[in-house]
Point group: C2
Chain length 344, copies 2
Amino acid sequence: MRQQGAPKITDVARVAGVSTATVSRALSKPETVAKQTREAVLAAAAETGYRINLAARNLLRRRTGAVVLLVPNLCNPFFSQILAGIESVLTSQGLSILMVDTMQSGTRPDFILDFLHHSRADGIISLDGSLPSVLLNSSQNSNENLPFVFGCEWHPQETFPSVRANNQQGARLAIEHLVSLGHRHIGYINGPAENVLSQVRKNSTQEALAEHGMPVRNEWFFDGDFTLEAGAKVAREWIDLEDRPSAIFCANDEIACGLISELHQAGINVPDQLSVVGYDDIDIAERYIPALTTVWQPRFDLGQAVANLLLEGIENDGFGETVPIEILPVKLTIRQSTAPAGNQ
Amino acid sequence: MRQQGAPKITDVARVAGVSTATVSRALSKPETVAKQTREAVLAAAAETGYRINLAARNLLRRRTGAVVLLVPNLCNPFFSQILAGIESVLTSQGLSILMVDTMQSGTRPDFILDFLHHSRADGIISLDGSLPSVLLNSSQNSNENLPFVFGCEWHPQETFPSVRANNQQGARLAIEHLVSLGHRHIGYINGPAENVLSQVRKNSTQEALAEHGMPVRNEWFFDGDFTLEAGAKVAREWIDLEDRPSAIFCANDEIACGLISELHQAGINVPDQLSVVGYDDIDIAERYIPALTTVWQPRFDLGQAVANLLLEGIENDGFGETVPIEILPVKLTIRQSTAPAGNQ
DNA sequence: TTTGCAATTGTAATCGATTACATATAGCGT
DNA sequence: ACGCTATATGTAATCGATTACAATTGCAAA
């Protein structure tokens, strides 16, 4: 589909009786053009239905008008609110989004690499902290230093700017809540081991437990992967446990739901027989049965913040020496999946 | 951030000792170039780290390399799988996605209109069937006929190509399932009244009921809006009903969860006292309590199909006289939120 | 009147890749 | 040896907007 007869700047110039330079100026720097001329140009632009050709402008400006957005797994609805936040900022700036699902089959590093170049984008947002270092290095190359920011997840070496929620605080809040309910036997279900979020949430959980003088028992720390099935699997393991924790903190809400659901099928009730805390406060959490006690994080705001941070980097040709890191507060939403200990 | 010293085609040409024309050909139409030359060019391209400048190519080709994607509400996780399907196709074709949330505040028609132009995109996918006709007309204008396809939702007048699931079949399957369980008093909770999906699901429900000789009672047809809260509201209304339906079919899973959750809080059990069928088979459905009986639709496939349809339109400069409409089959997933009638 | 400056507008080069057309070379048949 | 064709490559115009620089004009100061 070609833009056959699309009016161009020369058409506007002809109609307005001025040169293309004047049209360009009237449109982008109105104050440099005489009022009369400006009005004539605007009228001509309206009359011809002129729309700027972004490819031409971008060619000259050496910009692309696009931002690459790396998402670990688009199918995961957790990202939708973050996406919405990012979209709201970038779209309002006229930037387009090059969404790439890093988990999609057939998306190998060299394929992704194709997108991390100046000719494709003006900057990169990654919601995936586990990018192969090939990619990260390449984007650090002297002649390839596109502004690059992490959102939600981040890179352990902290060499890139990022915006994320306070995961340490989240884990603390969850544990403190359970402790305050009288729980002394607290377990944890982790996300994927290689994931930074998993790591921080797990470490912070252990720290918080230790600080409250709680036992940190290996058999109460389960491995998982952020899925419903991971939670369900742990449910079966919990049932088989000789000495069971009376409360379990889950690295996300999916795990929590999987856990509760599988327990329910085994005739075990949450919170009567086990208290469960989730993480993320996904939409369904408040209408799950029981309504989920969970750690809420500002996903939409996070999306906006990371997009704004990137815009800054694009404006200033990078971030200079500093590595800006923004950490957003989280809060605990107490609902019905947790109850005082001692009912078990 | 500028692509300062980025190698261009002239650099490759110099290194390879050929003209830029030959480089261009070696890269895009390898068979038109002698083997020896081709290899020299490829080597030079690799050596210089050449990446094509898309703005330049697009300027010449009068393409933008971007596709506008109108999403009714990005926050709604229902769309994530469709998005993933669309992404998988478009990304593999090197097209970028200009995502626009049509529900976002500040996104008024004239703002959206800005995106529906040749200089912004080569085509448009809308997951929103309720676009103001201003937009649709403008995109039908003789000089503005960008390929435009609907996905999931569609426009009642059927003047645009679309890919969608078989909503009629979905409603039928749900009703037939309830009827086969012995239910004779069946209700329905609708989505937003102006939404095509709502309309078709509601009409098809009424048809199916009528065909099975079931009563279609107005007070059993509830208005809603695809949210958890809508379902919760109906739960309270159902409780107050003198003559209650023994089963309710919901226009989507959120409504179903809201309904079940609110009933649960009132001490009413699903499916013992009410059978509930949802629609969409969202991830959590199989782990809801009770696991949700619901109509599954191929969301990822739908995304891929709609993207492929658009690509076709872009290739062929439109769709010609026909208005291609692709309807994908759905299926009923029977779980535990429905039970034989008569237990009430 | 002349000079200088500011304000306004025009001319033309430029961004980087593509491709129609022209040119060059090799191979082949007669 | 000549001419023809097929193949390979180069030359240069082109896409559409921007902007450095030049040119023009008007006006004020000297």
